[in-house]
């Protein structure tokens, strides 16, 4: 077969897509194969999940802040889960389980990567669409299916899964362990299986598109850092999710067919189970082999977008472009080699543990390089404080604060004291949860004009940023102290411990602040949907005076992105404030007396 045949095929395909005028409502908005529409679908589904996941956190914070009070309205909505207006233990565990699952997977994986990988990859590398638009569409619909199943698990008689988002056996493997281990757990597993398929289909496409579909002149070292970050994210995803899948399959066997991969010597409700020789720790290995890379699957896209937004709005080239790529690369490699730091107290051999300590602490090196480069990019920049820029700076702040506590937890000896305390909750929420959420907000504010041809309201954006930023610190900073004092995570009620009484007021404050912060997110959601229809219209194709290719498309690009030829790329994306010019787009050839690139 000749290359010509393939080329002809591709050319016809892209040509055809671009001039497809007869799109129906279904093919344009529902089963769309346009990467931009799929990105928006991921985003809006992610927003719905963020509201649900956020609401759940407010509910369990009510319990933690005001354990002695009753809220009769809760019983109206949640029935026996909040009997007498008090959140019941089983319901509490369901709330935290679903909160974790939803935020980690549905919001910060699908909502973040799914949105921006889809929206930005073809636009920033100069392609008409993804390598396989069809697989891309499937990727969204598998996510949608996973969402529907997880959502319906909230309404089953025995309630949703309640064994924690890590679904450790035996709780997850034995239906008789509790209500939250019954059908809710089955639905959780089925939903996650579909979610994994969605992530894999997406990831395959992202990698193939970035490596194979770049426009003329777009060498790898001319790629925006967002693209590099998404590439590494996708590689992490396609290599680690299958391992979780293998763990989930073994779990399904234990759960439904009675095998003993993870179960051994269990007496439950007076009944002696026949299971012998299983190892619950084995599940933890399989889970965390995904679980830790998952942290970076969440974090890396945010890092990439933040790099981009900081550079554009500082009107300066990103500092240390190659060092940024190298550090992303090292983080991606290390991500696979540190999973057992989640398992220091499982009886892990301390000698083996010391390797994991070393590798974990090594992550500080590429992380520090990134922070240094972000700060240096900001240094003496001509900074425009757009809401997107504020969220990007907020990301850097949170990443530093949360990263520092990682050094404590990564040390196995200190971890013995801090494991499973509020210190861990504070650490991962700041460094991964809230920070990535800030990256996501930064991305939404920055690329909203590209998505909808309108701006988000700035005033609401500023209010959103400041209250969320201060609120995030007010919520999570004090939790470090609680954790140091030994307050355990996942506990429903701490009143039984005299030594924790001193945190009563603190817990009330944290709860009140989380309600305020949640309200701010609702305001953002209002801003988002209001602005889609009524926001200020974008008048210029390049509102941020940015160099990257997505801003060379029309204000509302059709399927195929560029009405004519795809532009050719001549330079890296970070020529800001160069040769007396504010910015020089990637499409502009290098001048005769210009120093080439970076």
């Amino acid at each position: 077969m000749s290359n010509e045949t393939i080329l002809h095929g591709l050319e016809t395909e892209s040509h055809g897509e671009h001039h497809a005028h007869h799109e129906t409502f279904i093919s344009k908005y529902v089963f769309s194969q346009d990467h931009k529409t799929i990105g928006k679908q991921f985003l809006i589904t992610g927003i719905v999940w963020a509201i649900i996941g956020g609401l759940f956190s407010v509910l369990f914070r009510l319990q933690l802040g005001f354990p002695e009070q009753t809220f009769p309205i809760l019983e109206t909505f949640f029935g026996k889960g909040a009997k007498g207006g008090v959140i019941q233990p089983e319901f509490y565990y369901a709330l935290i389980t679903i909160h974790g699952t939803v935020l980690v997977f549905f919001v910060l994986t699908a909502g973040l990567s799914g949105t921006f990988a889809n929206l930005l990859i073809p636009l920033q590398i100069g392609a008409r669409d993804m390598a396989s638009p069809f697989l891309n569409m499937l990727s969204y619909w598998f996510f949608f299916l996973a969402s529907i199943i997880m959502f319906s698990s909230l309404f089953v008689h025995t309630g949703p899964a309640a064994g924690g988002w890590t679904v450790y056996p035996p709780l997850s493997a034995l239906g008789q362990a509790g209500d939250g281990s019954k059908i809710g757990m089955d639905l959780w597993l089925i939903s996650m299986a579909f979610f994994i398929v969605s992530s894999l289909l997406g990831g395959l496409n992202y990698i193939a598109t970035i490596l194979n579909m770049r426009t003329k002149g777009m060498s790898m070292t001319k790629l925006p850092l967002t693209m590099w970050a998404i590439l590494f994210t996708a590689i992490l995803g396609v290599l680690s999710f299958p391992v979780l899948l293998s763990g989930a399959i073994l779990l399904l066997f234990d759960r439904n067919l009675g095998t003993s991969f993870f179960l051994s010597d269990i007496v439950i409700g007076g009944e002696i189970l026949p299971n012998e020789g299983g190892s619950a720790i084995l599940f933890q290995h399989l889970f965390w082999f995904l679980g830790h890379p998952e942290v970076y699957i969440i974090l890396l896209p945010a890092m990439g977008m933040v790099s981009e937004i900081l550079s554009v709005n500082s009107r300066k080239p990103i500092f240390g472009y190659m060092a940024m790529i190298a550090s992303l690369f090292s983080i991606a490699i290390l991500a696979f080699l540190v999973w057992a730091h989640h398992m220091f107290v499982t009886g892990l051999n301390p000698f083996l543990g010391s390797f994991f300590v070393l590798l974990t602490l090594l992550i500080a090196v590429p992380s520090a390089i990134k922070v240094f480069n972000w700060l240096t990019t900001l240094w003496r920049g001509n900074i425009r404080f757009t809401p997107g820029m504020l969220f990007a700076i907020g990301f850097v702040s949170l990443f530093i604060s949360g990263g520092l506590t990682g050094l404590f937890l990564g040390n196995s000896t200190i971890d013995i004291h801090l494991h499973d305390t509020k210190f861990v909750v504070a650490h991962f929420h700041i460094v991964m949860g809230v920070a990535s959420m800030f990256g996501m907000f930064a991305g939404i504010y920055h690329w909203f004009p590209k998505m909808y041809g309108r701006y988000l309201n700035n005033t609401l954006g500023y209010i959103h940023f400041w209250i969320t930023f201060l609120g995030a610190y007010l919520i999570f900073w004090p939790m470090h102290y609680e954790g140091l004092a030994g307050v355990p995570r996942r506990y429903l009620d701490l009143r039984g411990w005299h030594s924790f009484n001193k945190f009563e007021d603190l817990n009330k404050i944290i709860t009140i602040v989380s309600i305020i912060v949640f309200a701010m997110q609702l305001m953002f959601v209002f801003n988002f949907f209001y602005s889609i229809f009524k926001g200020r219209k974008v008048r210029t194709p390049n509102p941020w005076d940015s160099n990257t290719l997505e801003w060379t498309t029309p204000i509302n690009p059709g399927h195929g992105n560029w009405p004519g030829e795809i532009p050719e790329v001549h330079r890296w994306p970070y020529d800001y404030s160069k040769n007396g010019r504010s910015f020089i787009p990637q499409t502009e050839p290098i001048g005769p007396d210009e120093t080439k690139d970076h």
């Binding site: 077969m1 045949t5 393939i6 080329l7 095929g9 591709l10 050319e11 892209s14 040509h15 100069g126 392609a127 008409r128 390598a131 396989s132 697989l135 894999l200 990831g203 395959l204 496409n205 990698i207 193939a208 598109t209 490596l211 194979n212 579909m213 770049r214 426009t215 003329k216 396609v238 290599l239 680690s240 299958p242 391992v243 899948l245 293998s246 763990g247 399959i249 073994l250 066997f253 234990d254 067919l257 009675g258 095998t259 003993s260 991969f261 051994s264 189970l273 026949p274 299971n275 012998e276 020789g277 299983g278 190892s279 084995l282 290995h285 399989l286 082999f289 030829e565 795809i566 050719e568």
Partner: protein, 189 residues
């Protein structure tokens, strides 16, 4: 010709590339399972098994099918459509034979007392790992059958050999994957 296509000339076709990445992903799943096997085999209550002879015949079937699919690729390239269609058929049949032999092997093991309840030794891992491999082979068979049906409708002049090449790559992959699995179970199990 658009610029994307000009750029394309130097590179592997995106769909082929997607397949390679997908194969890496599948390898990770089986690596996860076989790693779990190694860890588990060093723990208490581990039970060994005797591998049924049938798995040698299934190995033969899938090895031959790799040859037939490669012949299908070359008939397609030569434009001999009839032969191409027949070879797709033969490959699918060999795939089905493989699956059936695997299931018969499972039956033998099951009858010899290797069942699910309460245990997790080499036999239970075998059901999971071989079973997942069967699922991957079935996926390949479905793809081949779809392609065989497609030959009825398409005009050869405008077709590219991408689909059959990608399918053949995948087929060789499940073949190699099987060799890895069976050797693993023989050496470690």
């Amino acid at each position: 010709m658009g610029m994307v296509s000009v750029q394309q000339q130097k590179k592997i076709h995106p769909l082929k590339f997607i397949m390679w990445v997908a194969m890496a992903s599948i390898v990770m799943m089986f690596a996860g399972l076989t790693s779990a096997y190694i860890i588990k085999s060093n723990q208490a209550s581990w039970q060994e098994i005797k591998m049924p002879q049938l798995f040698w015949f299934s190995t033969g079937a899938i090895l031959i099918s790799s040859i037939t699919i490669q012949m299908a690729v070359s008939s397609f390239k030569k434009g001999v459509l009839n032969k191409y269609r027949q070879l797709l058929g033969v490959t699918s049949v060999l795939g089905i034979v493989f699956v059936v032999l695997q299931l018969l092997g499972f039956q033998q093991l099951w009858d010899s007392g290797i069942q699910f309840r309460g245990v997790a030794g080499a036999g239970q891992f075998l059901y999971v790992v071989f079973g997942l491999h069967i699922v991957h082979v079935l996926g390949g068979i479905i793809a081949l059958l779809i392609m065989a049906i497609q030959t009825i409708f398409f005009r050869t002049k405008t077709r590219t050999s991408i689909s059959i090449e990608v399918a053949a790559t995948y087929w060789h992959f499940v073949d190699l994957l099987w060799l890895y699995i069976i050797i693993f179970f023989l050496l470690i199990g």
